[in-house]
Symmetry: C2
Subunit: 286 residues, 2 copies
């Protein structure tokens, strides 16, 4: 039977009890509206942990005032059923008042990678992410926390936070889960009209095309970016936030591909719905 | 026999072992050069905890480039003996490379109280304090952490960080320990010439005088501050950074004393040595 916990103090006590019994805790932090991508994270947590906690919390501090916090899709009953069916042990689902008191004012901030790519378009986003993940770590006391590669920059920043602040948590990353037609799974996909839903496939196709071009020897990021941008703009003229080529070890943008792998990350808006996708491309096939 | 631990990973493993054995951990974070004030903190930790950890680490991120990081007094052998004699269980004394890697870049920052009083004169100080305390909490995994009231603002900010980020740590505060003549204990007192050492007594005397004036009915902060400043300036003309009157619940400066207690905090420099002191003054004697 899945436990439902809403209080941070109660969750901490329960985590202490589990740890004292020498059982291993895996945490899957989510904003709810669960999809097959989340279920993969839960499955992954189960492989190495005795107790799987899923947190469901739409974190206001990672949304800017002009963003979609209030209309972000929520369906708690459906989430609960999906979690139960996935053998989740504890669903931690705090209210806003439990997470942020009126006088809240202490933030965790990674100060370099947080400012590029997503961070350029969403300046306070990763400060909100780092802060809420630190809070969830302190509340759920996991041995392992599982994140999706879908937000590659988030994975990098959270891993860096763990190292920099000595959180005793192992970060496990799960590959992007896609719809059968290639669209990366996202709770935000429900925002898409059916026309935009089709057009959005171009993001995945552009990444696949970049992979072929890079494996065929193209190393100049300017050339590659312009090809990808033309391809994306041809499908319903979305607005592109960025198509970025990143050194995956340091998460810094590069001009030329010299290392054996490159992370290509992109963000575009289809009629106002902002989607991200990425691919870690190895220069040699395997 | 006191354990000496220099590695964060080893300290975490040891903390896990202690916690699994259901023993309670008390942490006393220090910058070393221990004095009777620190010993009181250790004593306090002992009253409620099974295992007392003292950390000794002169934290570079809480010093500005123009401050006394490099000449801050250090005497590890003496500290070790004092800790041993005080029945400390574990001395955690990491090197700089253990605490801050070359690519360190994630900070914890309380964003309001950190900017006033000390924070005005030391703009990055409390960011460094909050960050290193968060790290020490994640490394030593204490149930209880003991701080001195000597840095009242630090106590407030650390307590706020604990609440805001859900650290499962109880903060215990120990009153200021003073030399027989009234000077607040501080590792920095060794910087003082014998003339300045005598002049510095005026800080304590000014606080005592303010207490009398407040209990006798004076409520106007402008009047009280000007009296205290004149008194302090009369003793060897130190430079005063601030004499502040603070609402102890919210840590906000006030113009007029209306609540039943007020925190008076001050900072002054005697030939370049910066000293702080404070007193929590209740309006009614008891």
């Amino acid at each position: 039977m899945m436990q439902l916990i809403k209080s941070a103090a109660e969750m901490q006590q329960e985590a202490d009890r589990i740890r004292t019994a020498q059982r291993k805790i895996g945490l899957v932090p989510t904003m709810g509206f669960l999809h097959a991508g989340h279920l993969k994270l839960i499955e992954e947590a189960r492989t190495s942990c005795d107790v799987v906690i899923v947190s469901i919390y739409v974190n206001p501090t990672q949304f800017a005032p002009n963003e979609d916090f209030s209309r972000y899709p929520r369906d708690f009953e459906r989430d609960k059923t999906m979690a139960q069916n996935s053998q989740v042990d504890i669903l931690f689902c705090p209210e806003n008042e439990e997470m942020y008191g009126d006088d809240f004012g202490t933030y965790v901030e990674e100060q370099e990678v947080s400012r590029i790519l997503e961070g350029k378009f969403r300046p306070t986003h990763y400060r909100g992410v780092a802060t809420v993940v630190a809070k969830l770590f302190n509340i759920c006391k996991p041995h392992v926390a599982v994140f999706g590669q879908k937000d590659a920059q988030q994975v990098f920043i959270v891993s860096k936070m763990v190292r920099d602040l000595n959180f005793d948590v192992t970060i496990v990353v799960v590959p992007i889960v896609r719809e059968p037609d290639g669209l990366a799974m996202s709770s935000r996909n429900v925002y898409l009209s059916s026309a935009d839903r089709k057009n959005a496939l171009v993001l995945h196709e552009a990444l696949a095309s970049l992979e072929r071009r890079i494996r065929n020897g193209e190393r100049d990021v300017r050339v590659l970016r312009s090809e990808a941008e033309n391809m994306i703009l041809g499908k319903g003229s979305p607005s592109i936030d960025y198509v970025a080529f990143v050194d995956p070890d340091e998460f810094r943008e590069i001009d030329r591909i010299v290392k054996p792998s490159v992370l290509v990350a992109l963000a575009a808006r289809f009629s106002g719905t902002r989607l991200i996708d990425n691919a870690l491309i190895s220069l040699d096939e395997h």
